[in-house]
């Protein structure tokens, strides 16, 4: 009798264990380890990735289609031959070498200056004794939410008074002080980063009698690598793509960054088509070629930096 019970209990347990094994493989020990869950995740990822990559692929394909392929309705995704004429056309329209060097100059100097100026401000707001800290924090927040349209006209007048209007300096100058495209956001990012760092370092430095600035340059700024990377990349890309400030500040001058040149191409092409100098179906591949040429430098930068960048986003500080 006793034995019977024991075996039955054993049996019950073994079947239970088997069932549990199956359940664990399919559903997972935790919800996020099961097969089903993973399949669903991958499904969502792949669909969303397709949504993101589709326009880019389309751009690449359209760009290299010859006139024959463009008219041929059977050709949608795979061109019969790679034709680079549209890209060359776009290159000429964009005045590529000149616009590219202007864009690179502005974007790189803005990104570097942002790292320096916003880093200083962010560090001060995170760690130092700043008089009226609360007020200044509020001002940073205000700077973040004010649309540039509100202050653009007086800024233009100011630049005109200084005789800088139409000069490329107008686009770099604000970033020296931590302004410019989304400058306030970068201050917030740096502040966020520095406030997660351990305090022991500063205390040690203070006891040793190091000055704050020297300590910052020697220790804190190098530590901020993840934040620097994020700000560098964002600042570069956003400044690169920005057309609003250049349009407002450069106005009539002939020097234009790429993104701004790109926005003029539309109207240029329409004029060409109207004058009969260009068949209509060629406008789009040329536009695609231009888009590609504009995107290419930030894209290369991103592909180089993305590994470190993704890690930087992962790492919020030294301590877990």
């Amino acid at each position: 009798m006793k034995v019977d019970v024991a075996t039955r209990v054993k049996q019950k347990f073994s079947t239970k264990r088997g069932l549990r094994q199956v359940k664990y493989t399919i559903l997972g020990r935790e919800m996020n380890q099961g097969l089903i869950f993973k399949l669903i995740l991958y499904g969502i990822f792949i669909v969303t990735s397709y949504v993101y990559l589709n326009p880019i692929l389309k751009m690449l394909v359209k760009m290299v289609m010859s006139a024959k392929d463009l008219i041929d309705p059977t050709v949608t995704w795979i061109p019969s031959s790679v034709y680079l004429g549209h890209v060359v056309e776009a290159w000429k329209l964009l005045d590529y070498p000149k616009s590219l060097s202007i864009s690179v100059l502005i974007a790189i100097s803005t990104a570097v200056l942002h790292c320096i100026s916003c880093g200083l401000a962010g560090y001060a707001l995170a760690r130092l004794d700043v008089p009226f800290k609360k007020t200044i924090l509020f001002l940073v927040f205000l700077a973040f939410i004010i649309p540039p349209q509100v202050v653009i006209l007086p800024t233009i007048l100011m630049y005109t008074k200084l005789g800088l209007n139409g000069h490329l300096l107008t686009l770099i100058l604000p970033s020296i002080f931590g302004f410019g495209v989304k400058g306030a956001l970068f201050v917030i990012i740096f502040r966020q980063f520095f406030s997660t760092q351990p305090k022991a370092l500063e205390e040690a430095a203070r006891i040793d009698g190091a000055s704050a600035l020297r300590f910052y340059i020697r220790v804190m700024f190098p530590l901020a690598r993840p934040a620097i990377l994020v700000v560098l990349l964002f600042s570069f890309v956003w400044t690169w793509n920005d057309t609003y400030y250049p349009r407002m500040f450069l106005g009539s001058s002939g020097d234009m960054p790429l993104a701004l040149k790109m926005s003029f191409i539309d109207s240029q092409l329409t004029t060409f088509i109207k004058n009969g100098g260009l068949p209509e179906y060629l406008a789009e591949p040329i536009k695609m070629g231009a888009s590609f040429l504009v995107i290419l430098p930030p894209l290369i930068l991103y592909l180089v930096a993305q590994r470190y960048f993704v890690e930087s986003v992962e790492r919020t500080g030294l301590v877990e």
Binding site: T48, S263, I295, L299
Partner: protein, 289 residues
């Protein structure tokens, strides 16, 4: 350590702090404080730019009146856009939140997907996205495919909301494109939750569902607010936004007034968002404790 020494140390530290923040403050005065005050001043004046000097004639609230009561620009262009934004904001934030939680799982190949999901950060500003929009890339076409339009008409009837809802649904892909930075912020936020919190919850036998509601969501609530604010600001400074073409260097006084009205609307918007957020947050805090 005499008291005097302590005081001077404190003072010198304050000085150091001021030194660090000084460049930013100078910038604030030059690029924001002064222009802000000046544009407010201009909005009450007619500005005539003559070759030698600029003449300001005081006109009071004439321009504000004009914009608010006698012009169609504000209402015809801005209001529909605001309606779209109202729908887009929750969609963007919720989508970004879901995706970031998924990307945070320890899956093989997640780095590849992350790299793809950050792509919009690079493209979603400027002329390139505009050319996507003009191509009709933002259109999924599922409204036509599943005849959702018909159902929508049944639900919303002729209310002014029908059109913006349809626009947003139609441009669903674009909504995904807008959420690059938001995904990033959420992932950074998820990294700040310590793994020990999850482990202890698991040992206590909490289900994943409970873990999400009790640990993940409360820890992420500041990031949700941050993202809401970011999205509002982003939507309102976006190049496709109709107001941007309205404010140009034509009539300085009129345009300054328009910019200020616009800014006021954004502030009201942000106020409402923060209010709703704090309401919900308080409710949740009550439940959790």
């Amino acid at each position: 350590m005499t008291p005097k020494r302590i005081l001077s140390a404190k003072r010198s530290r304050k000085l150091e702090g001021s030194l660090f923040i000084a460049p930013w403050l100078i910038g604030f005065i030059a690029f924001l404080g002064f222009p802000l005050v000046f544009s407010l001043f201009m909005s009450f004046h007619t500005v005539k730019i003559l070759p030698k000097k600029i003449v300001y004639d005081f006109v009071g609230v004439k321009y504000y009146r004009e914009i608010l009561f006698n012009s169609s620009d504000l209402y015809d262009k801005l209001i529909p856009y605001f309606q779209e934004v109202v729908i887009m904001i929750p969609v963007i934030v919720i989508f970004a939140f879901m995706i970031s939680i998924m990307l945070n799982q320890k899956l093989p190949g997640r780095f590849l997907f992350r790299a793809i999901f950050f792509l919009p950060v690079i493209f979603s500003t400027g002329a390139v996205l505009m050319s996507f929009i003009n191509q009709g890339e933002g259109n999924l076409g599922f409204l036509e495919r599943f005849n959702i339009g018909g159902y929508m008409d049944m639900f919303l009837g002729d209310s002014s909301w029908a059109k913006p809802v349809k626009t947003v649904l139609n441009q669903f892909v674009l909504v995904l494109w807008y959420s690059g930075v938001q995904i990033l912020l959420f992932i950074a936020g998820l990294q700040t939750i310590s793994t020990s919190a999850y482990e202890s919850a698991r040992i206590d036998g909490a289900t994943p569902w409970e873990v999400f509601w009790k640990i993940t969501l409360p820890a992420m609530s500041p990031f949700i607010l941050l993202n809401l604010i970011y999205t509002v600001v982003d939507m309102f400074t976006f190049p496709s936004n109709p107001v941007i073409s309205l404010i140009n260097t034509g009539n300085y006084g009129f345009n300054s007034a328009l910019a200020w009205i616009y800014f006021a609307i954004i502030l009201v918007f942000l106020g409402i968002v923060i209010l709703i957020y704090s309401r919900i947050n308080r409710k949740n805090a009550g439940v959790n404790r």
